[in-house]
């Protein structure tokens, strides 16, 4: 069973070639914005699918510029289909840049084959993606530190408070913090209330990378 996912902008032509080319396609799920032109494109895709007898689910995104929300939604949908045993592929040609970016990111993290459709020739272009399992590149301790930082996003943490919270020596915590900073998983910045102190925060979107 194959399920095609897609991001849709104003041009149904960007998605139709993938609907035609996907072997054994059983279902289509696509994401679009609430813009009138995008809704018009949705109507044409739904009509096209109906003519093929293909079930289609259109997901209207409340904010087509909220990268993390979009990526979380797409990832959850993709995982559900995969858990049900579906072969998944993704067409990222349409939609806002951030919709495509979110889809691209999910494809990399989940190892999903993705395609683009050329604007003029309407030819499908497979994207050279390599699956990157970010979470697997972290040690259990690093994951624990990140989980705490994500949970406490609203709170300010220093290396000392993190060391206390997780029962680690300050030097050990400093080592982990430096490693995580080098991996882009967290950021350190000066505390505006105390210039001597460094605050530690989870990098934006790290929840998504941790899966």
């Amino acid at each position: 069973m194959a399920v095609l996912f897609g991001t849709l902008g104003w041009r149904p032509q960007s998605l139709i070639p993938s609907i035609r080319s996907t072997e054994g396609l059983e279902r289509l799920t696509f994401y679009h914005s609430d813009h009138a032109k995008s809704r018009a494109a949705r109507a044409r895709i739904v009509e096209f699918c109906r003519s093929l007898g293909l079930p289609a689910t259109a997901v209207e995104l409340g904010d087509a510029f909220d990268l993390l929300r979009i990526a979380e939604r797409i990832r959850a949908d993709v995982r559900r289909e995969r858990a049900a045993g579906a072969l998944v592929r993704f067409n990222i040609a349409g939609g806002t840049r951030l919709m495509s970016s979110a889809a691209l990111l999910v494809c990399i993290l989940e190892g999903i084959p993705a395609t683009y459709v050329h604007d003029d020739t309407l030819e499908e272009v497979p994207l050279p993606l390599l699956r990157i399992s970010y979470g697997e590149r972290l040690t259990p301790r690093q994951r624990e530190i990140l989980a705490l930082l994500v949970k406490d996003r609203e709170r300010s943490h220093t290396e000392t408070s993190l060391a206390k919270a997780l029962g680690l020596h300050k030097a050990t915590m400093n080592h982990h913090i430096r490693e995580l900073e080098a991996k882009g998983a967290l950021v350190r910045e000066r505390d505006p209330r105390d210039r001597r102190a460094l605050l530690v925060r989870a990098a934006p979107g790290i929840e998504l990378l941790l899966g």
Binding site: R97, L98, L104, L105, L130, S133, K183, G184, P204
Partner: protein, 201 residues
């Protein structure tokens, strides 16, 4: 590094908000003839313009990867606000795969997640990369292993590399006249630019 179309105003927020020493623009030939580019050049006389085909994903991806490699060592940041969507998406893909921090301004800044520390060089080990570099066309496993041996990769490591490259989709194997022949996959061809140089950053 910034993707560029015709309107320099798509690039200016990045210049204001992202500190930089050197600016590289990726754009189409027509973009670099447009008045917007002239205005930007007058603000940043030392900027480097890299011409791509902004409607060809492969061309954009290769150029973005090269630009990231050339800019290293040191911090590289990318702004993907200007240019065609294909150029922006390809640059973004290169940024994800190369662990580069990417930003989008519309006009509020959005920092995209960085996959630093998990670049292709971290996924494929030195032996894998050596074998991938050898595999430029159809050849038997024996030929690949012999060539790898001449580059200091032992047979056991060479075999492991072949298995790994196949598992990652970098090579295809087919029986031809009863002999298994290995070929680089389209994925490997697309990734030559990543594998061509040792990682610097």
């Amino acid at each position: 590094m910034a993707t560029f179309g015709f309107d320099e105003r798509r690039v200016l927020p990045a210049l204001r908000l992202l500190p930089y020493d050197r600016l590289v623009l990726l754009g189409g030939r027509d973009s670099f003839r447009a008045p917007g580019f002239g205005r930007l050049k007058s603000l940043e006389p030392s900027l480097q313009a890299v011409t791509v085909d902004p409607f060809d994903f492969g061309s954009c991806l290769t150029a973005a990867c090269r630009a990231f490699h050339d800019a290293r060592p040191g911090d590289v940041r990318a702004s993907v606000s200007g240019g065609t969507k294909i150029l922006a998406d390809a640059t973004l893909l290169a940024a994800f795969q190369e662990g580069v921090e990417a930003w989008y301004f519309d006009p509020e800044p959005v920092r995209l997640p960085v996959l630093r520390g998990v670049r292709i060089h971290d996924v494929l080990g030195p032996a894998d990369q050596t074998v991938a570099a050898i595999l430029t066309g159809p050849m038997t496993a024996e030929t690949v292993l012999a060539a790898a041996g001449r580059r200091g990769v032992g047979r056991a490591h060479g075999r492991r590399a072949l298995r790994r490259l196949r598992a990652e989709g970098f090579l295809e194997a087919r029986l031809e006249g009863g002999v298994p022949v290995l070929r680089p996959s389209p994925l490997l061809k697309a990734y030559r630019v990543h594998l061509g140089e040792a990682p610097k950053g």
